[in-house]
Amino acid sequence: MYFVLSWRNLWRNKKRTLIAATSIFFAVILAIIMRSMQNGSYAYMIRSSVKFYTGYLQIQAKGYWDNRSLDRSIVIDQKDLQAISRIPHVSVAVPRLEAFSLVSHRTFTKVAQIVGIDPTAENGLTDLKKRLVQGSYLTRSSKGILLAQGLARMLRVHVGDSLVIYGQGYHGMIAAARLPIEGIVKFPISDLNNGMVYVTLPNAQYIFSAPGRMTSLAIMIDNPKNQDGVKKALVSRFGKNYTIMTWQQMMPDLVQSIEMDNASGLVMLAILYIVIAFGIFGTIMMMTTERSKEFGILISVGMKRAKLILVTAMEILLLAFSGALTGALVSIPIISYFFHHPIPISGSAAHAFDMMGLEPVFHFSRDPILFFHQAIVVFLIALAAELYPLFFVGNLDPVKAVRD
């Protein structure tokens, strides 16, 4: 009965109800937009960083991360690889055999990082193919190398020239090879641009006398939320002999910087909440005082104060609920739009992002949790604002109120 009463009350004064509801409605939308933007940026940062090299997880020999010697390499056979790709949410497994060696052409010699890769898998993680600026990308059967642009410049070589690789292989064996340059790749980060040399994995295994071995297997996951599940599956299969490292362990500084970013983001959100809270409170307060005559009359004709409070409370509850719900629903298409059309960053910041190989845009997150959280928070704020009307009704002097 009270419910019906509250409902009717709301509709009695459409304008007032609408105004109050919209304040909540817009508050929810804004909160969702802000949080979506923040989370979108973190997700993008993490994804870009892991795609750069590490992947979300890596299988390595125990102790490899501290001392990257070829002697600490692992063996993952076809059966294992297939099992790994069958783990749900794994999008690509990327094997690598890495060692540093001398590379030389005529009289120019430099130290470089030689990486034996599976060309398709590697591209699936790092988009290496996109970085090709000359020549052609490696295929499964390639005998040649991909060379980083900075290194090519320092050695004065071009596609078609041959490069000598010389260094130490597995178990102290000498690694020496002369290979043709098939392509040149360019990296935005100068350390990589001045040091990387790619060959096919079988080729690297031959050169470094490490048949069937690799120094790491990087794993890419479709959605970072599934990382723990995938890690568990990997540990159960490989945990005895090998280490499974997460990107958090491999890039702890990134974790810290995201946490800091997140913290400042929460502060921003808090400020937004405060502004919203005032807006909602103001509206509700107005609404209440406006109806003081009405309340006064009701009490005078005998309605129990408590019941009046109850009815008013339900009104506001309904109001807040519908406002929050519609706000959340309407924000879905808005966020979807921004998800597919991120807001571009302009000016010098955009230029700088480009130079780092990052897209100069504000990314948005589509995670459903977002919508729940923000809607609930605003709902709670509205409920808090509700205390005022209840208090007001509780202390109303009906005689004064009626007299206006």
């Binding site: 804004l30 810290q256 405060i274 807006g279």
Partner: protein, 404 residues
């Protein structure tokens, strides 16, 4: 007359007005302060890099940045150094001799860069001497004193007063192995820097190299960042054959983060303004509805629509201005207070360190923002007044008067 009427109206309903003023005030304060913290963070990152090693401008031989070999020293380096001192806008200059070397200890060895400096010069351009965690900056007297970073000391398992053997190739190709003594250990925000930079006295280096004095890099500190472009221009004109670059060109990554802060701050403020927009609109709508009868009477009595519109508009603007002024004063006040003292973010130290920022951030807001923000708020307020004002002028006097 309209003005005083509007003002009186604002204060007729104290509660409502105070809430709006509080919302605007807090919103503005929050935005200003958050913005200042972000900008301060960006600044500190830039300053750290400049003070540590970059300086404002660096001069090299034309090929040096491509090929950092000992032979690419600046021709007539010391003359260039002298001339740079006399360029207007220059505060201090420091000449550096840079040599790639291996640092060895009984435990381990590592590739480093020897930076040959004149301590009295270097002090005026960089702040390594302020970052010593042990020992002194070339004030004690052993043979071949060096100052190394903590990360390197840890890697080589050395401490203060330990012997460190540096090996490097001279101009004539001969190898030098030198026993040096660690007289100071420094720590900066960049572990990478600490690990690779070994500081040595130029006089010792020249003696060991058995060569005439040479310089590879001249670092210039301008009197202020505003004067930097002028100094750069002068240097470029005077030394057309040398490479003259500003820190922005030398370390674009740092320039990014700084520029990004500004973008984010504006983005955040936009969202806060949106929130305020809705809040103010709603409240003013309520206000209009509350004064339904009174406004109806005014219209019936003959007040022009235009005046009513202006009245509502003025009310809104006054509300916003009041809130704006309060927010502005609060914001400017807190910023001024913390600018001096700084805020300690050491809880997130590790992440910040990787970015090269110090853990104490000095909030600072560029002058433009102090002007831009209040203007944006007033603008927003005006827009939010439109709907309520429009509603107000469309009140039918007959309806208004009829309500009891």
């Amino acid at each position: 007359m309209l003005l005083s009427l509007a003002w009186k109206n604002v204060w007729r309903n104290k509660k409502r007005s105070l809430i709006i003023i509080a919302a605007i005030g807090l919103g503005l304060w929050g935005s200003l302060f958050a913005g200042a913290v972000w900008m301060g963070w960006g600044e500190s990152m830039v300053d750290s890099a400049i003070d540590r090693d970059l300086a404002h401008i660096q001069i090299h031989q034309a090929n040096y940045l491509q090929d950092k070999i000992i032979r690419n020293f600046i021709p007539n380096g010391f003359q260039v150094l002298q001339e740079c001192r006399h360029i207007t806008g220059v505060q201090a200059v420091s000449g550096r001799t840079l040599i790639e070397a291996m640092a060895a200890s009984p435990a381990s060895n590592f590739g480093v860069k020897i930076v040959g400096i004149v301590p009295e010069q270097a002090r005026q351009v960089t702040d390594i001497h302020k970052r010593l965690i042990a020992g002194n900056y070339f004030e004690s007297d052993p043979k071949n004193p060096v100052v190394i970073g903590k990360k390197l000391a840890d890697r080589l398992n050395l401490r203060l007063k330990s012997k460190i053997v540096l090996s490097f190739q001279g101009l004539d190709g001969t190898f030098n192995y030198v026993a040096c003594r660690i007289v100071g250990i420094y720590k900066t925000e960049s572990k990478f820097f600490d690990e690779s930079h070994v500081f040595m006295k130029q006089s010792d280096l020249f003696r060991l190299l058995n060569s005439s004095p040479i310089l590879h890099e001249i670092a210039i500190r301008a009197k202020s960042s505003q004067l930097m472009p002028i100094v750069e221009q002068t240097a470029k004109t005077r030394f057309p054959d040398l490479s003259v670059k500003t820190w922005k060109e030398l370390a674009p990554g740092i320039a990014i983060t700084s520029a990004t802060m500004e973008s984010f701050t504006y983005m955040f403020i936009m969202i806060i303004l949106f929130a305020l927009l809705f809040g103010i609109t709603n409240t003013m709508l309520m206000a209009v509805m509350e004064r339904f009868r009174e406004l109806g009477v005014l219209i019936a009595v003959g007040m022009k629509q235009g005046r009513i519109f202006s009245m509502i508009l003025l009310e809104t603007i006054m509300l916003s201005l009041t809130g704006g002024i309060i927010g502005f004063l609060l914001g400017a006040g807190t910023i001024a207070y913390t600018t001096q003292k700084g805020i300690d973010f050491s809880a997130f130290a590790s992440g910040l360190a990787s970015f090269g920022a110090s853990t104490i951030v000095h909030p600072i807001l560029p002058l433009e923002m102090y002007i831009a923000l209040p203007i944006m708020i007033i603008f927003t307020a005006s827009i939010s007044a439109i709907l309520p004002a429009w509603k107000a002028i469309h009140i039918q006097p007959a309806d208004a008067v009829r309500i009891y």
